[in-house]
Amino acid sequence: MQKITRDQLIEKAASLLANGTVSCVLGWQKGEFDYDITPAVFETEDELKANFVWNDFCGANFSKYLVSKTKKCEGKILVFLKPCDTYSFNQLLTEHRFDREKVYAVGIPCEGMADIAKVKAIAGDGISAIDCSGEKLAVTTIYEDAPVMIDAKDVLAERCVNCKSKKHVAYDELIGEDGDVIDSARFDEVAKIEAMTPDERFAFWQNELSRCIRCNACRDICPACTCEKCVFGNPNSSLENKSPANSFEEKMFHIIRAFHVAGRCTDCGECSRVCPQHIPLHLLNRKFIKDIDSFYGEYQAGAEVGSRAPLVNYTTDDLEPGEVFERGDN
């Protein structure tokens, strides 16, 4: 259950629309089921009342939409930002990807978002309703008469299990209380892979990446991937490919993509959330974050606007590339 309610958000949005502060609202729109929520633009209170939702399935991070929407929208856009979303928001500002003046950011607290796959693993197929308003999720299916009660903690999305911050790093206004940066265990999985032998690591990633169908969902959802033209879609880049013809191209795409967002990735976890093949792509990005933290000092992309990312920075006594492998033995 989320601490703030849909009604609070609608009231806030409606009042900002009414007093002319904003001309539209970027929010979550209800879907066919209770979990398939779509990002949408709302322009009136009626639209909000009819279709706006706020529940445990509002995982979508709106930051990236601001790049295109701020160019198109006449007035200011109201955007609701969960704590993790605010990091992406700041990172995009650092990279001058949208005009801050055109956005009215309302920070909202988040109790963690649910992963529908985990819900289904417990409740089974044929979900006809999910009620998030109580202490537990009440999941009704066509196969059972009584709803299955699920503790929200048991179905948290991976990124929420390892939530790094409940603190908003950007907003014009905050609804509810701000939280703190969390000392998460998000690097544990990376460490587990690091501890494997090279052969095991190779087998692990070969298996994971072999499932890639190059649908580009990871890239297209990624708030760091806002290139006007992606190198992988540019016939003149010598890198273009539309499908992973073999295991090399799978690796090429994912290594280069992770490298391009290294130091810029806020670890929002959207890539893994949207991957239709369930490739744990966040483990690539997190590897870079973990390395950056240990090689160059802790750095959280998006924690502040204008910070100098580790790959556009250096010190004269940085460690040598040949030394990166030695750390594991320490």
Binding site: C227, E228, V312
Partner: protein, 664 residues
């Protein structure tokens, strides 16, 4: 499609000895784009070059591959040949089959195979080469010198001497800088004012030099040869062109309790003041923080006594915009603050002073008219302790002080000690040091004289604590050579404070996009070979802004910087290196990543209206590379995630073509 000619050089037997040159030219003849392939004994000879020219004409070549020695040897030669033959010099690529092939491999088959592959890589690259033309930009024949100390003065005089106009911007009301505050100068002990003030007068009288005193640089745009600089002239409330510097106002000014910064606050001045007698320009300045007229409109004495009518209480800050071809940074240094060095009791006792304060105490124009008197009670000190390396050569992890050696302290302390003993033989002088560093002409002799002739007590060891007690300063120190603790009751303690770059340097560096080290000293373009140039083209370094320096070094660097400026201003046009970065505006995200890694500040951003794919128009931020400033390292091309940024002559596609050719 290119029409490429391949020319394989034997280099006598240098190449032909280990590489079958015929096989190489035969193999390369089949490569895509190659229409002519041959080999010859010495391609770099006149005959060889003529062969290339003839082949260009006969086979209508558009590109040339020379398989020969290192491009570092003859790339320029063959580019000229190409130009003479009528093709763009950048359509030439060299396959290095001598230094990197025939000379390092012994076996003919191995050498030949490798030479063919290197040739193929060069052919693959030329296939993607495009003609490049160096850009040209005009040069504004005027220099700006920022800082009016001895460094800035010398640089300006030298540039003006060559006939170019120079402007000096000095933030204080007068030029002269630190040297004007010094008493004598080592190792010859001539008086600083005697050698500096004539130069200051030269500056004032030189019709090529303009002085903007009491002024600061607030904005720098443009690039080498074409800087647009905004200078803020602070209101001094005195009309500079009318004031005669007679000093009547300073005498009559009722507000006389203003700490005198020229004497480091050891005495007072009036609210309207001329910093010192030989100031240039010699005009009065009203200190708005103390002037009653400016603060609450009550007074106006100076205006009444000024016969020339130069006082103007309504004066406003003025902004001047000027164009320059070159900028010299001469922002100098300051002693560091002693606030963090509690152990020396600097803030507890007036009799613990810095070396610069000591200079003023011994200067005839100083607060004591040159008599060495203790600031606390104006008594003559009989025991003086000099402490070396206060804040210099500190541990990297120490919270206070600097890691580097401030370089000048050993010598000026020897000078202070010697002068003290010379004038006041009844004074005991102790100098505590870590090392005495005197590498300079007549420097060590100077120091030895202090010890041997003047009987200065040099003690290797550090002072641990200074405690004021009664009218004495208890100095607790260790003598490392004798391995014992010393306790000295001193009358005066002089701290050789480390020096650091002036605080104005960091914001200035940002404006100039010039790089700095972690200590805020400006970085040279090359530490050995280009020591007076900053990596940013057209920005030069003079004096202590680049690193600690004494006067002779400062003056020689000032002259060197001037000669570089003169070399630049003597040109009518600058011809750039055409192998520079350029951004494809259609792909550019405007994210600033490239700008952040550019060591030259060659990248700026502009907002441009674009027609978007969906038929709308939108304003997008895009990177623009200034080809006159870019040096072509290519760092930005890798920083750019979209690949919008590419490097001419070493484009992504060209390097990839080489990789592919080699790995075939």
């Amino acid at each position: 499609m290119q029409r490429i000619g391949v020319f394989v050089c034997w280099c006598g037997s240098n190449i032909a000895g280990t590489v079958d040159v015929q096989a190489v030219s035969d193999a390369l003849a089949h490569e895509p784009g190659v229409v002519f392939s041959t080999n010859y004994q010495y391609m770099c000879s006149q005959a060889g070059q003529n062969m290339i020219k003839d082949a260009v004409a006969e086979h209508k070549l558009t590109g040339i591959v020379v398989c020969s020695c290192s491009p570092r040897m003859h790339e320029a030669t063959f580019r000229k040949t190409a130009a003479a033959a009528g093709i763009n010099p950048y359509m030439v690529e060299i396959a290095n089959i001598r230094e990197q092939c025939s000379w390092v491999h012994k076996d003919m088959q191995t050498g030949t195979e490798k030479a063919i592959i290197l040739g193929k890589a060069a052919v693959a690259k030329v296939n993607l080469n495009t003609p490049l033309t160096p850009g040209e930009s005009p040069v504004t024949k005027r220099a700006l010198v920022i800082g009016g100390g001895i460094a800035g003065i010398q640089t300006a005089l030298d540039i003006a001497d060559a006939g170019f106009p120079v402007d000096i911007v000095e933030k204080k009301p007068t030029i002269g800088g630190k040297m004007a505050q010094l008493d004598k100068t080592f190792p010859t002990l001539d008086c600083a004012a005697c050698i500096l003030t004539p130069k200051m007068v030269d500056v004032a009288q030189n019709d090529k030099i303009r002085i903007f005193s009491y002024s600061e640089v607030t904005d720098v745009k443009g690039f080498v040869g074409n800087f647009d600089v905004t200078i803020k002239k602070h209101a001094r409330y005195v009309k500079e062109d009318i004031c005669t510097g007679c000093g009547a106002c300073t005498e009559k000014c009722p507000m006389k309790k203003v700490p005198n910064e020229f004497n480091l606050g050891m005495d007072n001045r009036s609210a309207i003041y001329i910093p010192f007698a030989q100031a240039v320009p010699k005009v009065a300045t009203i200190d708005p923080n103390y002037c009653n007229m400016l603060k609450n409109g009550k007074c106006g004495v100076c205006s009444k006594v000024c016969a020339a009518g130069a006082i103007d209480y309504t004066q406003k800050d003025e902004f001047i915009e000027e164009k320059y071809g070159a900028i010299v940074v001469a922002t100098g240094f300051n002693p560091i603050s002693m606030d963090k060095f509690d152990e020396f009791a600097y803030n507890q006792s007036k009799d613990v002073i810095t070396s610069l304060e000591f200079e003023r105490l011994t200067n005839a124009a100083g607060p004591t008219a040159g008599k060495l008197l203790r600031p606390s009670d104006l008594k003559h000190p009989h025991t003086i302790v000099f402490v070396q390396c206060v804040g210099s050569r500190c541990d990297a992890c120490a919270e206070k002080g600097k890691e580097y050696c401030s370089k000048i302290c050993c010598m000026y302390t020897a000078k202070h000690a010697m002068l003290t003993r010379d004038k006041y033989p009844d004074t005991e002088v102790y100098v505590f040091y870590i090392d005495v560093r005197t590498p300079g002409k007549n420097f060590d002799e100077f120091y030895r004289r202090a010890v041997e002739e003047y009987g200065v007590h040099y003690i290797k060891g550090m002072v641990g604590k200074v405690t004021p007690e009664g009218d004495k300063l208890k100095v607790q120190a260790s003598d490392l050579l004798a391995n014992k603790q010393l306790h000295i009751d001193a009358d005066l303690v002089v701290l050789a404070a480390a020096i650091e770059p002036d605080k104005s340097a960091r914001p200035l560096a940002t404006m100039l996009t010039a790089s700095m080290d972690t200590n805020d000293f400006f970085t040279e373009a090359h530490p050995k070979l280009r020591p007076v140039e900053s990596p940013t083209a057209g920005v030069f370094l003079s004096g202590a802004c680049q690193g600690p320096k004494d006067i002779p070094e400062t003056v020689s660097q000032a002259g060197a910087a001037a000669s570089k400026v003169i070399g630049l201003l003597a040109k009518d046009k600058l011809t750039g290196n055409p192998c520079v970065a350029s951004s494809n505006e259609l792909m550019c995200n405007g994210c600033s990543t490239c700008e952040r890694v550019c060591p030259y500040g060659a990248i700026t951003y502009e907002n441009k209206e674009f027609r978007m794919p969906d038929r709308t128009t939108a304003i997008r931020r895009i990177a623009v590379v200034n080809p006159a400033v870019c040096q072509g390292c290519g760092c930005c091309t890798v920083a750019c995630p979209s690949g919008a940024m590419d490097l001419r002559g070493f484009a992504n596609s060209q390097i990839i073509a080489e990789v592919d050719a080699i790995c075939k």
